[in-house]
């Protein structure tokens, strides 16, 4: 049993994923508020937009860590989400600031529904990932 770089990666990923889970919950709540009229879309976009890039960067960060640790399976599992993030950010509306959400289109029912679904899917993914990393960490610690 030794504390390897791989184990460190998993531990870090574990912590960061916990953060991402909070991001996802926040995202879901925010869109729910939008849908139920509690919030003005401009305000809501102003609070959501600054969080988009950090989330993507955190995820990209531990992907890179896994790459360095040569954890190919874990990396492979994360690649689709990474690719999705890149695609999502590339196809964002014309905006001067960082972020994804445009207050003029966010209330469109299609977009609203899409964003909500996205939130739930990510939450599920991060939760599963969280347990996977936990397992991965223990496995690495035990096996090494």
């Amino acid at each position: 049993m030794a504390f390897t770089f791989t184990a460190f990666c998993y531990m870090l990923a574990l912590l960061l994923t916990a953060t991402l889970i909070f991001f996802a919950i926040w995202h879901i709540i925010a869109f729910d508020e939008l849908k139920t009229d509690y919030k003005n879309p401009i305000d809501q976009c102003n609070t959501l937009n600054p969080l988009v890039l950090p989330e993507y960067l955190i995820h990209a960060f531990f992907c890179v860590m896994f790459l360095c640790a040569a954890e190919w399976l874990t990396l492979g599992l994360n690649m689709p989400l990474l690719a999705y993030h890149i695609w999502r950010y590339m196809s964002r509306p014309v905006m001067s600031g960082p972020g994804l959400y445009d207050p003029t289109t966010i209330m469109n029912a299609d977009i609203l529904a899409y964003c909500q679904k996205e939130g739930w899917c990510k939450l599920a993914f991060y939760l599963l990932a969280f347990f996977y990393y936990l397992y991965g960490m223990i496995y690495v610690l035990v096996s090494s």
Binding site: D37, S96, T104, M107
Partner: protein, 1169 residues
């Protein structure tokens, strides 16, 4: 939650103002029928009393209960039949255009019917008129099943004020519950009882009538027709007249078997009677004849009141009223039973039927009926239930509530089934039908509702739905493959609008819906919301009807009699004191702008219209100009001349003197005039070519943000300095590309953010783009799109080189400056539970799922909403949509304009197809296609348009089994669909292959998004008329002028002959194309030139010649112009002039190098299917 507008606190507070404001009265008057108003004098009670002297007591007693009941059942029964049959068929299904026709016929009929009604009643009446009636009604109801009952209830609610009054009187009398009377009634009449009452009152109302008995009473404003009927019924005996005559009439009119009628007294006749009544009711609405009904008065018997009422009232209530009247009468009699022999006879029959009805829970029981309609019966049941204090009768419409509406609808459904296929479903073989386009303009289809609802429904000019029969489930909608959505024109200029001043604006406590004609009154004190079905209390104030000055008639209030009303809102609807009208003009004065010369035209227009700017004594105005610097004008009162202040720091704009830049229009008028006179010449020698639009807008925002208002921006080139600068993105070589059209979206979000900031400060930015080259309208338009402004674009504008554009600017400015305007507005759209708003189209900012924030609203703004069906609508037969527009008028009043639309729900695909409003569908599709072009690509949008046809036609093909599958079939209601889609594909916004400048394309898209349907349809599919041979055949008279009505021609060169002259009406432009071989008489008499060769190339006016043909042509064109707010520019195009390409591009049925002809397009579609 908060109502329409985001108003903070919808005032739930129940204030009970002692009196309605005078405003309310005036509003009512406006809405109501003038004629009636005078009459209303007496209290309802009186009426009742008067009627049957003998019965007086009964009535009183009954009144309350009976009134209610009657409303429900009685009316229902009688009405349904007639209305359904007549209206349904003819109006809805037959010709689409019929709308107009039907109403008239309806009116006429009423008279006849009324006659009938009288006849029948008379016999029975004597002792107990009511009884007879009831019997009739009941019998009718039996025959017709439940449907009729619902109707009756309907009637009561809406129409019969009298009814109400009766009720109230009863109540007052202290008749607690239904009592013995009721019991009786319930059994036999149950349904009807109340009816009888109403009738009496109605008669009274109408009173006019002179009849001693009825006479006195109140006349509901609009009820004339009703009253007449009622009276007839109630007073049958007096009106002995003429059963036979009546019969005849009926027969002729409605084609009913009136035979029975002749023997009104007889029970057997009852059915007939009922029918008659029904018919009469339906028809009757308008009839003045009602007065005749008064029968009681001998003299009046003739029905003196003729039609004048009809016209007035017709609008809203007619059918209902009449029906109600008739039905009501019976009730009283029944209950008492004292009624004479005739009554008894009838009574038994009714009793039977009623029970059956009763048994049925809520109307769902009738399988035969369409699901939507089934509900109708239910109401009856409730009504019957008698003694309920609640009086189901009241529930008129509520969707769930099977009330009256349902009945009517159910009837309609019945009629449908029995009838052959409706016209709108007639299969048309598109490839073989050469003349798809009708000769007359296409009208909006009329929703398949009963006549009462139809009359109350919102005008299609303000509110249209793509499917006038709403599918029951999303699955059904998906099957039909048609778009579901609303087309709104909420702030349209109206000639008649009821304005209501009231301390309490009655709204549903849970969904905040405004009370409207489609709610149902459960009893006098409670109403049921038609959107969320919550039962609400009727506030005390609402019990008083300022129109009739009577108490206890909540169903007769103008709010409940008009589907378009305007409320004067209280301070509960304000976040801050109403703002004054504030206008700021931001003018480009760079070299380019000076060269184009728009300043002269603008300043001239402003000078001319300065006094007509909407506003009050607080109106403020300001001016800014900009090139590479920003110039402010200090117009503070007291200065000897305007002071120009230049700010050259465009990176950090500030206001040099914040207080004196926006000045009071009246205090500083002289300075303003000086400035406007000086402005055009101030910059003539400028060498500044740059344009700092962005900083100028930022400054404008700063200037406006304390108050809000309207900013009018005049821009002539691409902004090249400071924030928001843009680069040219258009590649001229790509203009006719068939592949990808890029740059339809904005290049920067600067303008969008600015617009959102402006919108937050209640400031709208209107853009006038007058440019000769590419100016990136796609980016600039954002400043107006999201701030609820409007966009005008004048390509190649030059005041002298392009006089037609200059003229257009002049005319547009005149309209722009003087039209109505609403400030700090919000619009909320509500719809029945189960439906939800999906996407909005138009210029606004969407603040929440159903709330649009509109910094300004103008009468030329249109909106579209896509809908989806989230929950199945199986438990309702009607759905309603309500838009509430809360705004501050230019006079500083906070007002709420409410439109309510009611539509039936259907469960079969065929009915969905039967109710398609193809024009609305096309406009909605166009809006969706614009979104698709911007978010995806133009070719995607084009494919989606073609797929819309392919899908809907193939879906239709699969539902109709007996068609030849080789042919391209469409229901008649959809036969124009492919033509319109082809027109869209050839529209500037969506065409490919033809050279189209990017700005032109984007502007066409902006127009699609923001124009109301009427204007948009002309833009998509212009109207073509041949005008060299105008005749008076079929001409109409407008204001003493004879306006010829030439038939529409299809948009194909095959219709153009060299010997003719044609007028094309494209909405904002008219073209007159003169053929080479055109008759010299025409050229000489109309154009004022001796021959074809001498006609100039650029001609934009028809001379005023004193010849018949010139007069006809001019009156026709004037008539076309008068029908729209913007005065279109006329272009006279010679056959050989280069300008003819402009004209020919609109001939959308022809082939072009890049696009299909209509026939080819059909083949293409067929292939895809």
């Amino acid at each position: 939650m908060s109502a329409p507008a985001g108003s903070p606190h919808p005032a739930a507070s129940a204030q009970i103002p002692p009196k309605f404001g005078g405003a309310a009265a005036s509003g009512a008057a406006a809405s109501a029928d003038p004629g009636s108003a005078p009459h209303q004098q007496n209290g309802p009670a009186q009426n009742q009393m008067q009627v049957p002297s003998g019965y007086g007591l009964h009535h009183q007693n009954y009144i309350a209960p009976s009134g209610h009941y009657s409303q429900g059942p009685g009316k229902m029964t009688s009405l349904p039949l007639d209305t359904q049959c007549g209206d349904y068929y003819s109006a809805l299904y037959t010709v689409p255009t019929q709308n107009v026709v039907t109403p008239s016929t309806a009116n006429q009929q009423p008279g006849a019917q009324q006659m009938y009604s009288r006849g029948p009643p008379a016999p029975h009446i004597v002792g107990s008129t009511p009884g007879s009636f009831q019997g009739a009604a009941s019998s009718a109801s039996h025959l017709h099943t439940s449907a009729s009952q619902p109707y009756s209830s309907f009637v009561n609610h809406y129409n019969s004020p009298a009814m109400y009054s009766a009720n109230s009187s009863v109540a007052s009398q202290g008749f607690p519950s239904t009592c013995g009377h009721y019991a009786m009634s319930t059994v036999s009449n149950a349904v009807y009882p109340s009816v009888s009452y109403p009738s009496l009152p109605a008669g009274d109302t109408y009173g006019q009538m002179f009849t001693s008995q009825n006479a006195p009473t109140v006349r509901p404003v609009k009820d004339n027709s009703f009253s007449g009927q009622n009276t007839a019924i109630s007073h049958p005996s007096p009106l002995p007249p003429p059963p036979s005559q009546q019969h005849h009439q009926q027969q002729s009119l409605s084609g009913y078997n009136t035979l029975t009628w002749s023997a009104p007294g007889l029970p057997s006749t009852q059915d007939n009677l009922i029918r008659n009544h029904m018919g009469s009711l339906a028809i009757a609405n308008n009839n003045p004849t009602v007065t005749g009904v008064d029968s009681s008065s001998t003299t009046s018997s003739a029905s003196p009141m003729p039609n004048s009422y009809d016209a007035l009232e017709g609008g809203s209530y007619p059918d209902m009223l009449s029906s109600s009247a008739s039905s009501p009468a019976p009730d009283p009699t029944h209950e008492p039973d004292p009624a004479p022999a005739p009554a008894p006879a009838s009574a038994p029959a009714p009793a039977v039927p009623q029970p059956s009805k009763m048994a049925k829970p809520f109307g769902y029981g009738y399988p035969a009926l369409q699901p939507g309609y089934q509900n109708a019966t239910a109401p009856l049941a409730s009504v019957v239930q008698p003694s309920n204090p609640v009086y189901s009768g009241f529930q008129q419409y509520p969707q769930h509530y099977p009330g009256v509406n349902q009945l009517s609808s159910s009837l309609g459904g019945l009629s449908l089934q029995s009838s052959p296929q409706p016209e709108s479903l007639r299969p048309v073989n598109l490839t073989q039908e050469r003349n798809v386009l009708p000769m007359t303009p296409v009208w909006a289809p009329v929703p398949n509702l009963n006549a009462d609802l139809k009359k109350l429904n919102c005008s299609p000019d303000s509110f249209r739905c793509t499917l006038t029969n709403i599918p029951q489930t999303q699955a059904l909608l998906n099957k039909a493959k048609l778009p579901l959505g609303l087309l709104l024109h909420p702030f349209r200029d109206l000639t008649q609008l009821p304005v209501i001043t009231s301390n309490t604006i009655v709204r549903c406590r849970s969904c905040r819906t405004y009370i409207n004609p489609f709610v149902s009154f459960i009893d006098q004190r409670r109403w049921k919301c038609n959107l969320c079905y919550r039962v609400n209390d009727v506030p005390e104030e609402f019990m008083y009807n300022p129109l009739t000055r009577s108490y206890g008639e909540p169903h007769k209030r103008p709010e409940v009699q008009n589907s378009t009303v305007e409320f004067i809102a209280s301070s509960d609807y304000m976040l801050r004191p109403p703002q004054p009208a504030v206008y700021l003009f931001v003018l480009d004065v760079s070299h380019n702008a000076v060269e184009a010369g728009y300043m002269t035209i603008l300043c001239q227009s402003l000078l001319e219209n300065l006094d007509k700017l909407p506003g009050d004594s607080r109106t403020r105005i300001g001016f800014m100009t900009f090139d590479s610097t920003i110039h402010f004008y200090n117009l503070q009162e007291g200065l000897s001349q305007p002071q120009m202040l230049i700010v050259s720091d465009i990176d950090d704009v500030f206001l040099p003197t914040p207080d004196s830049l926006l000045v009071n229009l009246y205090e500083s008028k002289e300075l303003i005039k000086d400035l406007l006179n000086a402005l055009p010449n101030m910059f003539t020698n400028t060498r500044e070519t740059h344009s700092a639009l962005g900083p100028a807008l930022q400054a404008a925002f700063k200037l406006m943000s304390p108050t809000g208002g309207r900013v009018s921006v005049f821009q002539t080139q691409l902004p090249s300095l400071g924030a928001g600068l843009l680069q040219s993105r258009e590649d001229p070589n790509q203009r006719s590309s068939t592949k990808v059209v890029q740059h339809l979206g904005p290049a920067t979000d600067f303008y969008k953010k600015l617009a959102l900031d402006c919108s937050g400060q209640q400031t709208a930015v209107d853009l006038f783009l007058l440019s000769s080259q590419y100016s990136d309208l796609a980016s600039l338009a954002c400043m107006s799109k999201y701030s609820a402004g409007c966009i005008y674009y004048y390509p190649s504008f030059h005041s002298t080189h392009n006089p037609s554009q200059a003229e257009k600017l002049q005319k547009d400015l005149k309209r722009y400056l003087t039209r109505k305007i609403g400030f700090e507005a919000v619009m909320r759209i509500r719809c029945t539970k189960g439906l939800s708003m999906h996407t909005f189209h138009g210029n606004f900012f969407v603040r929440s799922t159903d709330l649009l924030s509109l910094a300004n609203i103008n009468p030329d703004a249109g909106f579209a909403v896509q809908l989806s069906i989230e929950e199945s609508l199986t438990d309702t037969s009607l759905v309603c949509f309500q838009t509430a527009l809360l705004y501050t008028s230019s006079k500083g009043e906070r007002r709420i304009r409410v439109h309510t639309l009611c539509l039936p729900v259907v469960n079969s695909l065929a009915d969905v197809y039967a109710g398609v409003d193809v024009q609305a569908a096309i406009c909605l599709l166009a809006n969706m296609a614009v979104d698709r072009s911007i978010s995806s690509s133009l070719s995607d949008a084009r494919d989606a348009l073609v797929n819309a046809i392919v899908d809907s036609l193939s879906a239709y093909g699969s539902t109709v089994s007996n068609l030849q599958h080789s042919a391209l079939m469409a229901p008649s209601s959809l036969k124009l669909f492919p033509l319109y889609v082809l027109a869209l594909l050839k529209q500037k916004a969506f065409r490919t292959g033809t050279s189209t400048r990017l700005d032109d394309r984007v502007y066409a898209m902006c127009q699609i998004k923001s124009q109301p349907l009427v204007h948009l349809m002309k833009m998509i599919h212009p109207n073509l008329y041949r005008i060299d041979r105008l005749t008076d055949e079929g001409a109409i008279h407008v204001n003493d002028r004879i306006v010829p009505q030439p038939p529409l021609q299809k948009l194909s060169a095959e219709k153009l002959t060299r010997e003719g002259a044609f007028l094309m009406d494209c909405g904002s432009v008219f073209y007159i194309w003169v053929g080479k071989g055109c008759d010299n008489n025409f050229i000489e008499n109309v154009l004022g030139y001796p021959n074809f060769a001498s006609i100039p190339q650029k001609m934009t006016h028809l001379p005023e010649l004193d010849t018949l043909s010139s007069e006809r042509a001019r009156s026709f064109i004037t008539w076309l112009r008068d029908s729209r707010p913007l005065s279109p520019v006329l272009h006279i195009v010679k056959d050989e002039s280069p300008a003819k390409a402009e004209f020919f591009q609109h001939l959308i049925e022809d082939r072009t190098e890049a696009a299909f002809s209509y026939y080819e397009f059909l083949l293409h579609v067929q292939q895809q299917i």
